[in-house]
Symmetry: C2
Subunit: 367 residues, 2 copies
């Protein structure tokens, strides 16, 4: 039998289907067993009346949370069931993999009358068992939204005659001044990790490619005391020729971001709201623009933040941090505008982090 995704089970009321996934929850009592099965598309309650299915009891007794099973069974309506008002009455349960007791607590367990609350494991502990921590709806949604976001931006550019390129990451010399490079032992000599595809993007322009983009890793040998973890990140870079002004670049990026966020909102907006309590904001274009000089002026007035004239050509890390507070209401655009102002498109994805208030999406860029 072909496997049915759980979000398709709803359509199969009265039929027998096969589902596969992780056991998210398990209640195994004397007469009844309830299994909440989770696959990448959703959750399904599997209900076993043991008297009716004595042949399943041995298998059910072996099950543990996070075990992976294959179940065939009949899909039934049941208004008392939360998950879509349906449940599955299983005919067979096959164990694919039995999970040991989980080494981390993914989510805080609230106190009951009988039991104390159980604290969520620390981020360090969870990172040590990342593959287990990633099984939560929230974490999976981040990756789905990221995939959707990047793809929507790619489609936006491809529709506008951009060519996607894949440039080398091993290079013979540092590719951008001002940031540190990682050195690689390359046979009998040294190579360096690309700090950006900048050179290649510009070569592509000189080669008459006109419009190109790349999504790929970027490496900076900088200790990350900034609010960007920049030793390695995924950059979404674009470059295009025959502009008449930097405003052409701003316009393109405004539309690009808007297209990306629109797709995320359409496809995952409801789930993001449900799981993170966040509204995905699709900005309207044109974005308001703040000049860097005005920002520095504002930061000085508001926070007494002063910076040497020599540094005012770019956004300092501290100014970036302060501007978050300063523009909280107008935030949608501000940091985006800064980045455009110094013509950098490298940080596009990272900027989106600030722009959307989607703080929990960021880690998705660092698997």
């Amino acid at each position: 039998m072909e496997r049915t995704y759980i979000n398709e089970v709803q359509k199969e009321i009265g039929s027998t289907v096969k589902v596969q996934g992780f056991i998210e929850n398990l209640r195994n009592s004397k007469y009844m067993a309830f299994i909440v099965l989770k696959d990448i598309t959703g959750k399904l309650q599997i209900t076993v009346e043991k008297e009716d299915h004595p042949e399943l009891v041995d298998t059910i007794d072996k099950l543990t949370p996070d075990s992976v099973i294959t179940v065939t069974g009949k899909v039934m309506e049941n208004d008392y069931v939360k998950m879509g008002g349906i449940e599955m009455i299983p005919e067979t349960i096959e164990i694919e993999s039995i999970a040991d007791a989980l080494p981390i607590v993914r989510k805080e367990i609230a106190a009951t009358k009988k039991k104390k609350a159980v604290e969520r494991s620390s981020i360090d502990q969870r990172i040590d068992y990342r593959w287990i921590d990633l099984r939560t709806d929230e974490n999976q949604l981040m990756f789905k939204a990221q995939s959707c976001f990047v793809n929507a931006m790619r489609q936006f550019l491809l529709e506008r005659s951009f060519i996607e390129i894949h440039t080398p990451k091993l290079i013979a010399a540092a590719s951008e001044s001002g940031s540190e490079v990682f050195k690689v032992d390359y046979f009998d000599r040294n190579a360096y990790l690309a700090q950006s595809p900048q050179f290649y993007k510009q070569m592509a322009m000189a080669a008459g490619f006109e419009r190109i983009f790349e999504t790929g890793p970027v490496f900076r040998a900088e200790k990350s005391y900034t609010n960007k973890h920049s030793t390695e990140f995924s950059g979404f870079d674009l470059e295009f020729s025959y502009i008449t002004s930097y405003k052409d670049v701003m316009k393109m990026e405004e539309e690009l971001l808007t297209a990306g966020l629109k797709a995320v909102k359409e496809q995952y907006g409801e789930q993001i709201k449900e799981l993170f309590g966040l509204e995905v904001v699709v900005p309207t274009t044109p974005f308001p623009v703040v000049k860097l000089a005005d920002l520095y002026k504002g930061l000085e007035e508001e926070f007494g933040y002063k910076v040497d004239e020599s540094e005012k050509g770019d956004l300092t890390t501290e100014a970036e941090r302060l501007s978050y507070d300063f523009f909280k209401q107008k935030l949608l655009v501000v940091l985006f505008a800064f980045r455009i102002f110094h013509y950098s498109t490298c940080f596009l994805c990272l900027c989106v982090y600030y722009i959307t208030g989607f703080t929990k999406l960021l880690p998705a860029f660092f698997f």
Copy 2:
């Protein structure tokens, strides 16, 4: 005035439009000047009767091949003109950038009665001036086809619930046994460059992501005496759970490749035929399959090629090379099948090299 792409100029007969691009060819005689202007979409002849446009003569005299200009002018039908039966009568010509004499000869220039043939520059010379060499139709087409191919495969997977991930390339330990790693100075310790996203792909499966893919750089510290240049290449990796047999993987990859090649044929098939004399072959599924054991048997019978039993679990470099000759007719599938046989999907894009006979596409993966 908004710029018009050259492939859109045909629709503008009788109108005045603005075009921008590189001067591919220039004939500047006493009374007439002919400029072939090339942008990323096509070529346009610009015809100047000097008597009618004395104000343009000074500018035209400055022009050199590969200079970049902006031209506004009227689009006219002219059956004598090869490029689409149209030409532009310019009103203004603006120089964006004047090119020096080119340091390489991109294409052999045939002998005429007056002049000897000029040889094409060697690959080494051309690589030294890669951005100039890339301006040819052939080179640009490789990148367009590659962009199209990768995108079509991505769309194929996204439509089938795959999630695109971006995994780290800097890792703490070698990710695959049997191949050499590049060592990186990572602050006060060492890191290594990922030889494949294998670990992360598998972690994603253990995390319940079910179906994922990644396009990104892969690094192998192997001296490239093989027919794959593997120190750095772009991998197209996928991984999916809940298969019932390796045949599920073969089927997915057959359909994936077919979808990619179909898109390339549709979008660029004619141009590929015109510029490379190659027919893009879209294979039909299911692909014929050859067992590795049968290949080794065949290679021994045909070429006397013997290999130790211990090596027969994988395809040796020499066997890979020989099999090209051996299966020339059946080639469409063979190497693909091998790769599936040892469950590696990393080489997917490289395999396409053999599969399509599209030999000139390969360099496109190495900018």
